[in-house]
Amino acid sequence: MENGTDRSAASTRAVEIGVAAVILLFGLVVVVDSYRLGARWGDDGPQPGYFPLYVGLLICISSVTVLVRALRSSALAEESFVSREELKKILTVLVPTVVYVSLIAYLGFYLASTLYIAYFMWQLGKYSWTKTVPVAVGVSVAFFLIFETWFQVPLPKGPLEAALGLN
């Protein structure tokens, strides 16, 4: 869905080229490492790099094909990969998610999840404190009961649980 007034953040062609280039790089890495391991016939069978070498070569060949096709296509340059509005929407979810995931190791799973859900409800859903806090806390407590108590599956814990003696 594209608005006439919604400017593009990146053309499809640019992203195609970028992604194909990254994949090509990945393929080259695989090829180089395969050579390091040896890609020929060893004493009693193929060396460990044998299979990965051909995999890597195929990655390189296919990504070059995509790259060349993208470079030669002017139509793709016109097409928008993602508009600024759409990109903003995605970042509004992606950035907090990255922050959330990084915080789990420090704050423990349940505290981090509570903050994450609360942030979403408050910032994006525009709910008031009175609605946000009970739901976010309630969901985390529910998860705690489901995973720790019922399924007996431990999740990472942090300072809050230590303080409450729930380790």
Binding site: M1, T12, V15, E16, V19, I23, F26, G27, V29, V30, D33, L37, W41, G42, D44, G45, P46, Q47, P48, G49, Y50, F51, P52, V55, G56, L58, I59, S62, V66, R69, F81, V82, E86, K89, I90, V93, L94, T97, V98, Y100, V101, I104, A105, F109, S113, Y116, I117, F120, M121, L124, G125, Y127, V135, V139, F143, F147, Q152, V153, P154, L155
Partner: protein, 505 residues
């Protein structure tokens, strides 16, 4: 007949109170998963898989665990139809064709009829496929017992070439995606030579990439990111199913018996070919439109237009389990996750499974019948409930889904690294989906990569490096030949079209 005896034995295993309860729980979970975005069949099964670890340790536990997981699979299949009809959002790729006539029916106020038709057709399609599995799988398994490494590798080769040749997408991108999966599968310790591959000194990469993490990231986070572009709201038709509507629709359905049978046949056939459920549903819809007397009205809300794709999609989704059980080759990402589950529990899917663990296999097949019935019952009675879940504001449900995905990723190996990987895979999944790189081959390659390589190595070790071993006998040669044909099919097809064009022009 032997198969019926074995099946009855299987029912005995499946009918324990615990397993029956698991069936209903599985179906309900599956429907919820199928209805929510970001938690499709493959992803949902992947998240719940680690929770079955403790269950699988107990005797008879693996049967219970696979019953639970496969019922989640059924539930997700049913759930995809709910969102297709009510919200015009296909829950799974093979539910797309259901939106063509399903949503118009809902908009006309006949949502109940559309849903009943969809669920009943799914039930019929899946039932026919399960009957086929019942009789065909011992045959295929017995046949496959004679397989050696070259034959197994040829089967894997066929699977992957079928993806490239028949996916209809960009062949170069399919190959790239698939090979990336193989490369990722190769990361870590090589069990044969004991060397570390592609780890570059990172100890966290010692164990390699777990396909479960990839699935949760690619299909879970990736799909949520993609859904975000559409905006943060779900608006849909309301759904009420009462017994009157159900019975009325049931009276109407037998009219379409020909469509049903034809769609089941299409589905069963294409389900065995990997990635077949989606083309099966489209093909079946197209055929029905051409062959039905009401064909020209398709798209405006004809019940037959819902029957055709749903029967085919479910027949295909179910018959995809046939190669998984008998050959160890999954035909779809969800089947791949189920296969991965079997491997984790210490089972060897493939022909030997029938010989060594008949209880497990027949218990599973019996549960397919029961799970299908359970699914139909649950879904007919609880649709308004499930539809209501989608009315929960997105700002609440999106973070909850992501939290569930994070839990799923963590519990696989109790590793935070996996959770970070999940986010990375999520971004990759989003980019790949938008650019048209198919994700299914990557997941399949990630799951099967090690085994494919192992068979390849054993095959050429046995032949001292001679690649001709893959053409050494009729079976292997045939499989390899078909594989190569499918691989080059797009090229062949373009050449043929050009030849025809030259002659006509």
């Amino acid at each position: 007949m032997e198969e019926i005896n074995a099946l009855i034995g299987g029912f005995g295993v499946a009918f324990s109170p615990f397993n029956l309860m698991l069936m209903f729980v599985g179906v309900i979970l599956g429907i919820i998963i199928g209805v929510l975005p970001g938690l499709g069949g493959a992803n949902g099964v992947a998240i719940l898989l680690p929770l079955t670890f403790s269950m699988a340790q107990q005797p008879g536990g693996t049967t219970s665990a696979i019953i639970l997981l496969s019922c989640i699979y059924w539930g997700a299949l049913f759930g995809g139809a709910i969102t297709s009809v009510l919200f015009n959002i296909p829950g799974e790729p093979w539910s797309v064709a259901t939106t063509f006539d399903g949503h118009p029916l809902a908009q006309k106020g006949r949502a109940g009829a559309a849903l009943t038709a969809a669920f009943t057709s799914s039930f019929v399609g899946a039932l026919i496929a399960v009957i086929m599995i019942t009789f065909l799988s011992p045959v295929v398994a017995g046949f496959a017992l004679k397989f050696g490494p070259p034959e197994f590798f040829a089967v894997y080769l066929l699977t992957f070439c079928a993806f490239v040749g028949m996916s209809g997408g960009n062949a170069a991108k399919t190959v790239a995606s698939m090979m990336i999966g193989f490369a990722l599968a190769a990361v870590g310790l090589d069990s044969v030579t004991g060397t570390l591959r592609l780890t570059f000194g990172f100890t966290s990469l010692l164990k390699g990439f777990d396909f479960l993490i990839a699935v949760i990231g690619l299909f879970g986070i990736g799909e949520i990111l993609e859904t975000l572009e559409e905006g943060l709201a779900f608006k849909g038709a309301s759904a009420k199913i009462n017994m009157k509507v159900v019975l009325e629709t049931w009276k109407e359905l037998p009219k379409y018996w020909a469509t049903s049978l034809r769609s089941s046949a299409v589905g069963c056939f294409m389900g065995i070919v990997p990635g077949g459920a989606t083309p099966a549903s489209f093909m079946s819809y197209g055929l029905a439109r051409r062959l039905s007397p009401d064909g020209k009205d398709f798209g405006s809300g004809k019940v037959e237009g819902v029957v055709a794709p749903e029967t085919a999609a479910h027949a295909a989704g179910t018959s995809a389990l046939l190669p998984m059980i008998t050959l160890g080759v999954p035909g779809s990402p969800t089947a791949a996750v189920l296969l991965g589950g079997l491997l984790i529990w210490g089972l060897q899917p493939g022909p030997l499974l029938f010989v060594e663990k008949p209880d497990f296999v027949w218990g599973l097949i019996a549960s397919m019948y029961l799970g299908n019935i359970a699914g139909l019952i649950v879904v007919l009675t609880c649709v308004p409930l499930f539809a209501a879940i989608l009315r929960i504001p997105f700002s609440i449900i999106a973070p909850v889904i992501i939290v569930i995905c994070a839990i799923g990723a963590y519990t696989v190996h109790n590793s935070m690294f996996d959770v970070y990987l999940m986010v990375i895979f999520g971004v990759i999944g989003y980019a790949f989906k938008k650019l048209g790189y198919p994700l299914a081959p990557m997941v399949l390659a990630l799951v099967l990569g090690d085994r494919a390589e192992e068979n390849f190595r054993n095959a050429i070790k046995g032949s001292q490096g001679d690649l001709g071993v893959f053409f050494s006998n009729g079976l292997v040669g045939g499989l390899t030949g078909v594989a190569l044909f499918l691989l080059f099919w797009p090229l062949i097809r373009t050449l043929l079209a050009r030849l025809k064009g030259n002659r006509a022009g």
